[in-house]
Symmetry: C2
Subunit: 412 residues, 2 copies
């Protein structure tokens, strides 16, 4: 059971849009045991779509297309697919009504172009879009081939995908399927991790299980891939690795570090706040991005200027003068004072030279101090992340989150 | 002059990694007049790489591959390409030395697997990786075909790409090239924008210039695409649209709303701060993500809990009791008090029901109030963004930024 994902849209080929749709679809298909053998991004041109369908249909059982279903004239996917399958467009009154109501709900005028979106191919199963007005279309061909066309707006596509998932599942002959699972690491490099797991890797190889390392900013994912029949082996092995490297291994699969922290804080009935300089709210916003974070996240102080470090976080002026704003003493003061002012159990502080300018020989761009105040002790650590502003801020956020996790589970 | 991008890595096909590399490369190539006709993501398997090269070489002049050049065993791109081009791997002492120094600088042990990264194909031009240890490789074939292999770690790939760009430029016969330019809109929907530009669209069509609308969260991009010879026409037309729709059109090309605001604030010699509830620092972090933001961004108060709204932002308790935390009165109080406490010229406040729970009939999930205090007046506006927490936070950030921009340029 092979599948192939095709995203249609010039915006991807000119580099204007990142193709996150394929990522989502690939994730979902793999999870139900349908292997994705290729992802292609092509132009929204009749010829490109027709040629790609020709090339792809023979070797794949399921083809999922996204994009090109909007109301504007540059969206041609529906027309081209209808032509390819010798189908014809008919007005679907139920979809027309749905689309009209949709526009009414958001107080938008319903235009003639919007009406066109209710003209849909007779031979396809139509999947109503609850989050928009571009319907999904599913053609089933002889020899059990399936062609599914979804809109390109990510959240609409996701909504429709959830609706077709129950019908996709039975198509997967899951014994063919691959099984993979991932551990998530923070604070350890890819090479170092691979060295620690050298023996494991060789052992897995003899079983036909592949080991992959996927680095990203301040994090590494470790993935083991085998067949569905090796699921137990893979999970047992990963559990062993997780326990051995718990300092670095914060979670698995789709888990997010901020969610893991949220669960720990709820379990401990603890509250948290931040006093941020170089991260300027990026750390707090990680907490807030998690639903239900009001159970533990209370708030914070953003003291980007030295003036506000003194005036709203009560950092003594002489401390900044003596040690500089990027120092152990200042982040400790920020965290301790923040803990009191915000009335929280834990307070994380950050101060660093994010760059690209502002560095000195002694304190180069990329130097960041992170502080954490708890009821019993104040922790502080320096990091050196490098030259890129965005990476420095992102790295600071992840190191800070994992630093707190380590303190919460006593493996600091 | 056609090009094709191939990203190698199971992590993309299982949906674990979003392919941002292709986006970056496509952007860069289009900018110098090299058209990208297809982007493919394939498995890091010998067979998949060889087959894709076979399929792609005939119809393309430039093939850029990324991924699979790491030190770990799952990285096979270098081996397979060397095989495909009948090349051989030789030790490059200069690269070995560079890689050893690289590990030393970060206090990491240099291992045997790392040494393998200095074994490089004799027939390829080797491009030293200043940000890592995986070198780039560039094979030039007869008939002017170019195959370039770059590592998959985005910032290393970008660093190497910048190094090869001067050598790629002369390959483009720019008259063949397409030209496209983009306007960036906030606060107007795709359909509404298309309606306003109906006549323009028809006029462009007669000239062979295509008009595309690219919606994303709280924003729409408008792109006009023609040939390089139509550059002046396209830019003139876009300038006209921009001036007409200046309320919504905040910028063009790669510009970011937060950068535009930064420039306006610097020009006005004004300072800015935030008092955030539902955005929890996401708004402030947008300002801070821009290099040089310390010239205007001072700091903020994150008052996620009602307790902190009162205690650190001095919002009167009775105001919250009477109107609720998500109200005109409360965001006005947050913005005004924040303006004083942070000693800034402008203060933006946010308070909303981000969801997924917490909504009522009167105040549903997605209701957000945004306030802006200035020296002469306090503004406040309500928005209704819908059901998704992440989208609500992101939408709030973009609406708040554009709200401030509109006030700064007097088109509120």
């Amino acid at each position: 059971m092979n599948s192939h994902i095709i995203t249609i849209g010039d915006e991807i080929l000119v580099g204007q849009t990142v193709d996150t749709n394929s990522t989502f679809i690939a994730q979902q298909l793999n999870r139900i045991g349908i292997t994705v053998t290729k992802i292609q991004s092509i132009k929204d041109e009749r010829k490109a779509i027709l040629e790609t369908l020709d090339d792809t249909l023979d070797n794949n059982d399921i083809i999922i297309l996204t994009g090109g279903l909007g109301p504007t004239n540059d969206d041609i996917t529906k027309k081209v697919l209808t032509e390819y399958f010798n189908d014809e467009l008919l007005l679907r009154p139920d979809i027309l009504e749905h689309n009209q109501l949709f526009f009414k709900r958001f107080n938008k005028p319903f235009l003639e172009v919007n009406k066109q979106q209710a003209m849909l191919p007779k031979g396809a199963k139509i999947i109503k879009n609850d989050l928009g007005t571009a319907s999904g279309m599913w053609w089933t061909l002889p020899k059990g081939k399936h062609i599914i066309s979804l809109p390109g707006v990510p959240y609409e596509m996701k909504g429709l995908f959830k609706k077709i998932l129950p019908d996709l599942k039975p198509l997967s002959s899951s014994k063919d399927g691959i099984f993979h699972h991932t551990l998530l690491f923070q604070g350890i490099g890819e090479t170092k991790l691979a060295e620690l797991l050298k023996e494991t890797e060789n052992e897995m190889k003899t079983k036909g299980i592949t080991v992959s390392y996927l680095p990203s900013v301040a994090q590494v994912k470790l993935r083991l891939t085998g067949t569905i029949l090796q699921k137990k082996d893979i999970l047992t092995e990963l559990e062993k690795i997780k326990q051995n490297l718990i300092k670095y291994c914060y979670g698995e699969g789709d888990e997010l570090l901020e969610e893991i922290l949220g669960k720990l804080l709820i379990k401990n009935k603890s509250t948290i706040g931040t006093v941020e300089s170089c991260t300027g709210g990026a750390l707090a916003s990680k907490f807030v991005s998690t639903p239900g974070s009001s159970a533990y996240f209370q708030g914070g102080l953003l003291t980007y200027s030295n003036y506000l470090k003194q005036n709203i976080a009560d950092v003594p002026n002489q401390l900044i003068k003596k040690y500089g704003a990027v120092s152990k003493e200042v982040v400790e003061s920020m965290a301790e004072n923040g803990r009191k002012k915000l009335e929280v159990d834990y307070c994380i502080s950050t101060s660093g030279i994010a760059g690209p300018t502002g560095g000195t020989a002694e304190k180069p761009v990329g130097l960041v101090w992170i502080g954490i105040a708890t009821s019993s002790k104040t922790y502080a650590k320096a990091f050196n992340f490098g030259h890129n502003r965005k990476r420095n801020i992102e790295s600071t956020v992840y190191y800070a989150l994992n630093y707190l996790r380590r303190i919460l589970i006593n493996v600091e």
